[in-house]
């Protein structure tokens, strides 16, 4: 191998180390038996996990985050999927404007959305409420659903639904038995992105969630403002396991989606 190629590979390796090592360095610290965040570890223990799992603070925040995330995802999925069917294969000024409206929450700086909703929800008594958090997270989650689902619906072969109808399926049956299964991977990937957007949000939580609606990222934010304890590294490790799980699910969905597209393409070629 030429020397510059070795240098190049090392440089790339350094970038990947930069990406991964900081995250991985936290994990062993969470198993430390001491309260200091340094290596070498004086001994191993699960005491920080015990603290995290037995004190209500983190568990409540996690469950609340989960509830908000799932509700916002469900609402965004419903609204986004319906809209995708309405918008697919249509052109024109109004359609363009609606697509823009559905995608803008992704471009607008999150602090603007948070502040604007704070002003808007406060007079409606929706700040510091579960409903307010779900509404706000649905706003930021909708683009994550519309992008993949709209693309999948546009790729959908309209003859499939027609064939189902010709075989005697009623429209609703055709939708649930034929159309929905073929876009399911896209819907699932949209759902995962939507959930991740909600589950990872701090800024909206800082403005909309009052003392009664503590979310996990918000709790982490306030702990980070104080002093860092191994307790926090244990929370971080648990969250890492959780997000790795989401990531694996995502890869599985995408592979399935690719396979479906491949199958469809092969079907097209053989026909």
């Amino acid at each position: 191998m030429q020397p510059w190629k070795i240098v190049y590979r090392i440089a790339c390796g350094a970038v990947l180390v930069f990406l991964l090592l900081p995250i991985l360095a936290v994990i062993p610290l969470s198993f430390s038996s001491s309260g200091f965040l340094s290596y070498p570890l004086p001994g191993l223990s699960l005491r920080w996990y015990e603290t995290v799992l037995t004190s209500g603070r983190w568990l409540d925040a996690f469950i609340n985050s989960l509830k908000i995330g799932l509700s916002a995802t469900a609402l965004a999925l419903l609204l986004g999927t319906m809209a995708s069917f309405g918008l697919a294969r249509r052109r024109g000024f109004v359609v363009g404007a609606i697509k823009l409206l559905a995608l803008t929450p992704m471009i607008v700086p999150i602090v603007m959305i948070a502040v604007a909703l704070y002003f808007f929800l406060a007079p409606l008594q929706l700040t510091n409420s579960f409903a307010g958090m779900v509404i706000a997270h649905t706003v930021i989650a909708i683009p994550f659903v519309v992008i993949p689902v709209l693309a999948a619906v546009e790729q959908l072969d309209p003859n499939l639904a027609r064939a189902a109808a010709a075989c005697g399926a009623r429209p609703l049956t055709a939708f649930f038995r034929v159309t929905l299964p073929s876009i399911l991977p896209a819907v699932a990937s949209g759902a995962l992105f939507a959930f991740a957007a909600s589950f990872d949000d701090v800024v909206i939580a800082l403005f909309i969630a009052g003392p009664d609606q503590r979310t996990l990222p918000r709790e982490m934010f306030s702990s980070l403002r104080e002093t860092i304890t191994p307790e926090l590294t244990a929370v971080a490790t648990i969250m890492m396991v959780f997000s790795t799980f989401l990531f694996m699910l995502m890869r599985y969905m995408q592979r399935r989606r690719r396979r479906l597209i491949n199958v469809a393409a092969q079907g097209f070629v053989s026909a």
Binding site: V26, Y39, A83, G86, P109, V115, F120, L232, M240
Partner: protein, 392 residues
């Protein structure tokens, strides 16, 4: 599919986003130009000042109106807000107006409220500086907050001028925001480009594994990653203790709660956003082109600069703009790993909304942020041929 069914499918999302996104945004933006406090508290004074211009002697009716407004506003509790608003432009007037309100309310019934009366309370109350602000802020709409966000102000006679040096802050914040975003973008590009190219040169299976290494941090919560950087970079953190143990340094380096920490943490968060579009762009470059350049006698570096880079340019531009746009709006990372002089525009939008409560200024600064973001987004949209937003 007929039109009515299409409409039915789209109406819920449009309605939801109009109510919970579009209307709140417009309402928040309107705060930048709306003047509420002064028209509410001093309506008669504002009306009496309609034909007055700075430099003229104000008619006596103005002070009669002011006295009557002060009495009403004091009892209805709107005076404090108006005094607060006028105080932005005429420092010191806040306590003065509240005091004037008390004095007027206690005055005997037969008192004549004229210029001399208010001058005896404080000459500032009859000055052009005070009255011109009441007139401008009383119109319902003014450009005060927009001008403030650009470090500008109106002089007593209404001309636009630079704010006094000690009040200039926000152009600095804007410049700092752009500087941090540009530095982070450059770091991401320098680190991301080699990795994107590497992904195209290795086998498909290896690329798949490398991609996992890039995407895993991408899926890890922002707070988890920030925690990691605090653990690593802080004074007694892992990096400092490691460097001191092997004897490279004798004093811990200050790597956090300053600009270095902000740049490192933000680059870490945004690097995947650079690698993904770059990978998409360089993957589309046919390998034959480089071979052709080589066979025509170009040395590797020449071929890279003359052939490869121009072909990768749209992807580089799109990825860089995307990272730049995302970093412009950053709030959480700088507030956790930055110092006081590393806070970006978003921080001031948030602070003025909650802390001191200057909503007009929060809105004007937000508009500044929004305008820069949209402008850059349009450029990115053009460069990427309408595919600036995509999920992989």
């Amino acid at each position: 599919m007929n039109l009515s069914r299409t409409t039915l499918l789209v109406v819920p999302v449009v309605g939801f986003l109009l109510i919970f996104f579009f209307v709140p945004m417009i309402w928040f933006a309107s705060l930048a130009v709306r003047e509420v406090e002064v028209p509410r508290a001093l309506p008669q004074t504002v009306a009496a000042l309609r034909d007055w211009k700075p430099g003229q002697t104000p008619p006596t009716v103005v002070f009669d109106a002011l006295a009557s407004d002060l009495k009403t506003a004091r009892s209805s509790g709107t005076l404090a807000e108006a005094a607060h608003r006028i105080n932005y432009e005429v420092p010191g007037v806040r306590s003065l107006l509240l005091r004037a309100g008390r004095t007027v309310a206690r005055a005997p019934a037969e008192t004549t409220f004229d210029a001399a009366y208010f001058t005896s309370i404080d000459p500032l109350l009859t000055s052009d500086a005070f009255l011109s602000v009441v007139k401008r802020a009383g119109g319902g709409i003014s450009d005060y907050y927009i001008l403030s966000s650009l470090d500008l102000q109106r002089t007593t006679d209404g001309a636009i001028a630079q704010a006094p040096a000690e009040n200039r802050l926000y152009l600095d914040v804007l410049a700092r925001t752009i500087k941090i975003a540009a530095t982070v973008t450059l770091c991401c590009l320098l680190m991301g480009f080699p990795v994107a190219v590497l992904l195209t040169t290795v086998s498909e299976k290896a690329a798949d594994w490398l991609m996992i290494l890039v995407l895993l941090p991408f899926w890890t919560s922002l707070l988890v990653r920030t925690t990691a950087w605090v653990v690593l970079l802080q004074r007694e953190g892992l990096i400092n203790s490691l460097l001191m143990k092997i004897g490279v340094i004798s004093e811990p380096l200050a790597m956090i709660y300053n600009r270095t920490g902000v740049i490192i943490a933000m680059t870490h968060v945004l690097l995947p956003f650079m690698i993904l579009p770059l990978y998409g762009a360089v993957r589309a470059i046919p390998p034959g082109y480089m071979r052709a350049a080589a066979s025509l006698g170009a040395r590797p570096l020449t071929a890279f600069i003359r052939i490869y880079l121009p072909l990768a340019a749209p992807g580089i531009a799109a990825g860089s703009l995307m990272v730049f746009i995302l970093s412009l709006g950053y709030y959480i990372t700088p507030s956790l790993v930055g110092g006081a002089s590393d806070q970006m525009l978003s921080y001031f939008v948030a602070t003025y909304t909650t802390g001191t409560g200057n909503w007009g200024l929060a809105s004007a600064l937000g508009l500044l942020l929004l305008a820069s973001t949209f402008l850059l987004y349009l450029v990115a949209h053009r460069l990427s041929g309408g595919r600036a937003i995509s999920l992989s």
